[in-house]
Amino acid sequence: MRIVVGQGSCGIAAGAEKVYSAIEKHLSDKSVLSITGCIGMCFLEPIVDIYDDENKLLRLVKVNEDDAEKIAEAIKCGNLSTLENLKISPEDEEFLNKQTRIALRHCGLINPENIEDYVSSDGYKALRKVLETMSPEDVIEEIKVSGLAGRGGAGFPTWFKWNAARKSEGNEKYLICNADEGDPGAFMDRAVIESDPHNLIEGMLIGAYAIGAKEAVVYVRAEYPLAIIRLEKAIREAEEKGFIGENILGSDFSCSFRIKAGAGAFVCGEETALIESLEGSRGMPRLKPPFPAEAGYWHKPSNINNVETFANVSWIILNGGKAFSSMGTEDSKGTKVFALTGKIKRGGLVEIPMGKTLRDVIFDIGGGIRNDASFKAVQMGGPSGGCIPAELLDTVIDYKKLGATGAIMGSGGMVVMDENTCMVNMAKFFLDFTAKESCGKCVHCRIGTKRMLEILTRIVDGEGKEGDIELLEELCYGIKDGALCGLGQTAPNPVLTTIKYFRDEYISHINEKKCPAKECTNLLTYSINPEKCVGCSLCSKKCPADAISGEIKKSFSIDTEKCIKCGQCKSVCRFGAVEVN
């Protein structure tokens, strides 16, 4: 029997560490207790998995500290039926059952802090196979057959980059993992590193072998402290076992590993900016060509891939490239991991074969919109992506097809929005982000993002002017054309897609000074419905602006000149008399 408590960052934020300690306190035999990483069912955290002697799983969800004693007692008596009320429901179980996990195949099933767990799950077998039976060219060919494309967002064929780095002259080459997962709303890479760090290491070692690199570096963003701790431990364990270091597994291949923590700059997710940062400089992108495969880190041939890209490599080597390419569409092979969040009933990590639709992910697996509100849009690809409306829910998940909507596949962030989300405000939110994160090197991005933000701010503040939409569009196309790197080139995407699919909201903000989603405070008018108001005066007492007046037991009213639209009156009114228009 084993008891496993999920301990990814989400689980810990939900209280999983406290649950673990509480269970440990009450257990007589503590050796049965261990941890796992991110199971990916964030909406059910904290999760406690109990495996019986036949390895049959009883999954307990939303467990809190008070349940610990009951759990320990049930295990002691051998009577797990007392835990029925904590058991996962069959509907919620479908969240995982409907997925096809390759990159995430060990997440939530092994202890990320124990290499033995990884090894006994076919861990490092792919590396052994590569070193004993395959040449670097064989490895590149297998990756080519698989059709694996960069999972960081660009979707560029992985084999091509590896081949280019392999063919570059010189003995000093570098294999770099981009773990600077900066897209707000994305946490797929964090989950892989926290839950299955050895899979990442193994994928990187195979990549290093393929290109001829002797040094592998993982650039992890500073905001992921647990991922850094777990990866550091995994590297030490791998070194002790001889998977990292000199003459790995008795071969001629040697490779060292190190971690470099980022320091908080979204632009460092761009590969040349990442390299600049690795070199200790400001993370400002370089002109390409030359591409990193030719001149990257210290101007030596370097290959940079995303965490999820590497997480697929060992599976491809063990099962063959054809098995991977048998899944997906003509243009997009294999699976993709998505971080499904926002106004969704079941939020977490979803890995599915390319070719499924957005509807499959959001409604079939995600359970649809929280509180049964109506779906409005899904934002994909972070600040580089776009908002896809309800009429396009049957869009197939495929690099080209998603690109045709104006959005992008992106790294995998999928933020779901309902009717209460203002799309103009969303565009402003993303521009606020990109304007702050712009490195400042090129005029188009540095000044262009600021100008777009200024216009969007005026619009949401009720100061939109005739011609603003056309001006925004003109700016967008100009910035896309002139920006130096992907950050600037894609910064206009949220604006362009929201104008394309939600133009009427922009028109409403500009011409009528109204926010249809009732989110933009400056465009709201608070009033009291005299038919519902009982004259209790609570709103008047709460109002920080002294804007509400009236007589007790008679209807109160709001002076709109004084009203600062803080919403306090609405939140305290017990009679629903405060209305927002």
Partner: protein
């Protein structure tokens, strides 16, 4: 207004870090990170010391330090509240949480309370999106926040200080 950067700091605390890294090319950011771990922020005299030991101009060091949001140039309170500004948190109401913090402590982004206990910093996505809105206070993460919950958390921390 006190000029906290004029305070003399014990620069010998940097010796071990500088010994290890000063001749390792590309390690400026690592040195700055270690320095911030020691002092809690990057005081001016520390910047000058790093520049001197690593054979760089102070302008170059400041140029790198100011590029990255992780680096602070003023001391922070005992409790550093990092409020996530990610998309999921935004969609699920992080603005209300920021307002609640302002109501409770009287501070905005980048400010510290007069008693030096709390600093608020709006930060980029923390990657706990399913529990949005999320904040971290020092090493601890708090999810599924509501304005009431945030005020309770802050009040509990204040209580603990008494």
């Amino acid at each position: 207004m006190s000029c906290c950067n004029c305070r003399k700091n014990d620069l010998s605390l940097l010796d071990e870090v500088l010994e290890k890294y000063k001749n390792v090319k590309g390690s400026l950011i690592t040195v700055l990170q270690k320095a911030q771990e020691i002092y809690g922020y990057l005081p001016t005299d520390v910047i000058y010391k790093i520049a001197e030991e690593m054979n760089l101009t102070p302008a170059k060091v400041m140029g790198v330090a100011t590029f990255y949001t992780q680096f602070r140039f003023k001391p922070v309170g005992k409790y550093l509240i990092m409020l996530c500004q990610g998309t999921a948190c935004h969609v699920n109401g992080s603005e209300r949480i920021e307002k609640a913090i302002k109501d409770e402590l009287g501070i905005s982004d980048g400010e510290t309370t007069d008693d030096g206990l709390f600093t608020l910093k709006n930060v980029a996505c923390l990657g706990c999106c399913s529990l949005s809105p999320v904040m971290m206070i020092n090493e601890e993460t708090y999810g599924s926040l509501t304005p009431e919950k945030v005020k309770t958390i802050i009040r509990n921390l204040k209580e603990g200080e008494k």
